[in-house]
Amino acid sequence: MTQQTGKSMFSVQFIAAVLVALIAGVAIGFAASGLFAPPQQQPQQPAGGQPSVSKKVIQIGFTLPLTGELSSIGKIWEKVAQMAIEDLNKEVQAYGFNVEFKAVILDDGTSVEKAVSNVQTLAQQGIKVIIGPAASSQVKAVKSFADSNQIVIISPSSTAPTLAIPNDFIFRTVGSDAGQAKVLAALAFQEGARKVIVFHRNDEYGNAFADFFAKEFAQLGGKAVDMPYQAGLSDYAAEVNSLASKVQSEKADAVVLIAFDTDGGNILSHAAESNVLSSVRWFLSEGPHGAAELKTPAVGAFAAKVKLLGTRPLFVANPLYEQFKQNLKQRFGVDATVFCDNLYDAVMLAGWAILRAGSNDGNAIRNALVEVAKHYYGVSGWTIFDSAGDKANQDYGVWAIVKTGAGYDFKDVGVFERGQIVFTEEPYP
Amino acid sequence: MRKVANILEVNSVTKTFGGIVALQDVSINVPERGVVGLIGPNGSGKTTLFNVVSGFYVPDKGEVWYHNGGNSERIDGLNPNEVFAKGIVRTFQIPRLFKSLTVLENLLLTPYGQKGEHPMKAINPETWQEEEKALAKKAIELLKRFGLVEYAHVKVSELSGAHMKLVETIRGLMTPARVFLLDEPAAGVEATAAHNLFRLVRELNANGYTFLIVEHRIEVLMQYVDYVYVLHNGQLLAEGKPDEVVSDKRVIEAYIGDANA
């Protein structure tokens, strides 16, 4: 054992050295970052006016859930964001704009406070358009800062109805859940369900979606029994068990699951083991779409047994989306999950809006964004915004889990047209 | 019949801890301005009796009376802070001073119900400055009298064992209390310091303070106390003047019996 004081002396010097290195590193980084974010106002056009070799760099901010509860979606979004920025730059330069967009991607750990400090610090670097945050509670927290400092926030996944507020700086490239609940209700009713248990996350997303669904389903003549579950747990075996006994006691003929991907996958893998839950129909919201757990054999077989169907925002037969899915798989090895198309279009809209505004003024960019969205048909279909800054018309598709050569996979099997579901193919023969 | 009025009376106190009888029907009296010793072999119940008087334990049976000038009141069942408020100060076998505070601060802490301890007044120093000044003068007086003044700003944790015992004893003088309960003052201190402490006790006694002292080192205690009670297995074995008790067969037997048991 080294001599006692020697040991502690050594560790003090060691730690002191590390600390000094840390601070020095930060200082250098700080200075270096100054270089990376060249001043927005003075473009580097040389006085002579000929087309300069170096392009004008414009930064777009991203605050994504790379850790925390939504990290599984966040990680895929990070790749979609990189691809979107690359495609945007190719497109923009093809039109002769001497501009290069650069992504500044920050992790907000699905936490409210980190989202606020990310948005504030990005704005203070001169960034005027920020994609994200993902959760509605985060968007609400950044709203007052964004509105007062004219920072355009485009969230690809926040669907809370309480954020549908006209002329503010919050835009959402995904339709509100009211529309999707209508489609899910129609799907369940059309498939013969009359009494369903609505098993949903107990957060803003889950509660709002469940309320809309209950209203719509009642109008169609069905009965919806509300059953919230605690979100953010490490496992849901106990919840699935209560669901099974509820299904028995209420004699329900279907379960409507409103969840994100991690808890959705967890619940379905436990439900597959319960014969009570395997004897009723299952209808899902868009959250679990794309979750790896749903492609496992156990859940795949369960889906076939209960003829599992889900809804999700989708422009069916949209060639751009199929192309987008291939690109993402081929370049980043990742399957497109829910909200990926909305994120991709959000980046495109942001780029073109900045170019159209031609200045770094937040208000000008906001107005330009509304105009650009009117004529833009992207991977997520028409991107026109309604008066509250949300995606105006949003079509919805129906997806199922089908057995393919290499195991199970997601497949879009139908579309919601003029008030009812039209199946393009029969998923469960 | 005792001619001097008693200040502290313990009447047939019994205390059991889940079946084990710690005290069985014990009665002792401490005369005003007296110095009374309480001895007994290990496990004889002397510390338990001490804790009953100072409010740590509630006796199962019996009473503890405190005759302070005209009015006398029962103090068994009171909480330790209420017993202190009545004017009975206790010390501990291992001195329990406040480590993060200095000697002066430990003294200043002792007076009961200082104005500055009320949250609303604490914020406004004017309300308690005068009282603090007076207490500080008194504390420094005491420190000078017992030659501890240069330790005033020393953290208590840095004091020697003997000094700690001294500080714990004299901090009681900061209060109007007249009765001192000393728990083995001579424990863990060499002979000369122990004798100094007991001489201090006599000196204070001369100024009108009353003492009840639990002590294990009988040879030191006997030279300084007027009256002694002997406890054995939770019962009162003997009582009397120091020399009577020392020569009492039953006491010797109890101690010897205890020695080779």
Binding site: G29, S111, T121, K140, G206 | L108, Q129
Partner: protein, 350 residues
């Protein structure tokens, strides 16, 4: 270029709010020995009291029938947005009312909660308060009149009527720093008073303090009253700054408490200036690294993970470097020092 003024305003606002939490927690757990793991509970309680009161009253005073238009649904939120800039006096009045009520209610709840934790050891005191905090959060998550899982939105900013955002946020920063100064003043006064001395004694040895006539349960209740009251004020300040409150785990749950604990330990337990220093280190580094990590050009993993890793590393490194925290516990400056000088020194030189 980097908008340094904007950076300072937003960072200092967070610093101010966390500083209030850090000073009050340092007083509770550092000086008085009441290990409080439920700080986020009183912070959330204060925020909810201020926010819900303001949102309801705001609609009522603008004669909108709250039973029909709930302040948590879209129409209510839109009304709140429209009326925000109409009547400055109303905004400021409700803001002050929220601060007062939050202090009193959070304080009383803190006072009452001191009862169950009297006989329990420090580690248990912490977890009892933490559990109570979680009970409150899960209850609010299900309680319709408080906005359920939607939380409370578009809380009218006290200075909403000032058009220029920089002036508005600078003024709000002034208010926050004002409260930080008030917190420091109050706790510093108590720290350097007989009460401060008694509380440190209770921390060092409860039993001995009790035997010296100190009413330990009442003292602990007082400590929790004052500490929780100021936590309630911090909650109101954050609610009005963000303009929204959601009952999520990270917003009013244990992560807030753990952050504040890291600050007071970093800064030095029992030292109020240390708490502010801890808050500075904790909040500044996180924001500063935002300028650095995204540009590191690492592709094998998200570069921003380094920012989180460094915050954790900083806590461990500083603690290893200074195992007692950066600043030591100061001495109690009361008049006794002057008397000591006059008496002893005077005599020596005289």
């Amino acid at each position: 270029m980097i908008d340094v003024v904007g950076f300072l305003i937003s960072w200092l606002t967070f610093l101010g709010i966390y500083g209030i939490l850090a000073i009050s927690l340092n007083f509770e757990s550092g000086t008085s020995g009441v290990t409080n793991f439920g700080k986020a509970f009183f912070y959330g309680l204060g925020a909810y009291i201020g926010a819900s009161l303001t949102v309801y009253l705001f609609l009522l005073l603008n004669n909108i029938d709250v039973s029909k238009v709930s302040p948590f649904d879209v129409e209510g939120i839109v009304y709140l947005g429209q009326f925000a800039t109409k009547n400055p006096l109303l905004n400021i009045g409700l803001f002050i009312l929220s601060l007062l009520l939050a202090f009193i209610v959070a304080g009383i709840v803190g006072y009452l909660l001191s009862y169950p934790i009297i006989r329990v050891g420090p580690a248990f005191v912490g977890f009892t308060l933490l559990s109570t905090g979680e009970l409150f959060r899960i209850f609010v998550l299900h309680y319709k009149p408080l906005g359920e899982s939607k939380g409370i939105m578009s809380i009218p900013h006290p200075f909403a009527w000032i058009p220029n955002p920089t002036v508005r946020t600078a003024l709000y920063l002034a208010v926050v720093l004002g409260f930080l100064a008030l917190t420091y003043f109050v706790f510093n006064r108590i720290y350097n008073s007989p009460l401060g001395r008694t509380l440190r004694a209770v921390r060092d040895d409860e039993v001995a303090a009790l035997c010296l006539g100190k009413h330990v349960p009442k003292l602990k209740a007082t400590v929790l009253f004052i500490g929780s009251g100021f936590a309630g004020i911090a909650g109101v300040l954050m609610a009005f700054y963000l303009g929204s409150i959601s009952p999520t785990y990270d917003m009013i749950g244990p992560p807030i408490t753990f952050n504040v604990w890291a600050m007071i330990i970093l800064g030095g337990m029992g030292n109020l200036t240390g708490s502010i220093l801890g808050a500075i280190i904790f909040t500044f580094l996180d924001r500063l690294l935002i300028f650095v990590t995204p540009n590191l050009g690492i592709t094998v993993f998200s570069p921003d993970y380094i920012r989180g890793f460094l915050v954790g590393f900083l806590i461990v490194a500083v603690l290893l470097f200074r195992p007692q925290g950066i600043l030591k516990e100061g001495k109690i400056e009361t008049l006794a020092w002057k008397v000591y000088e006059e008496e002893v020194k005077g005599e020596k030189s005289g």
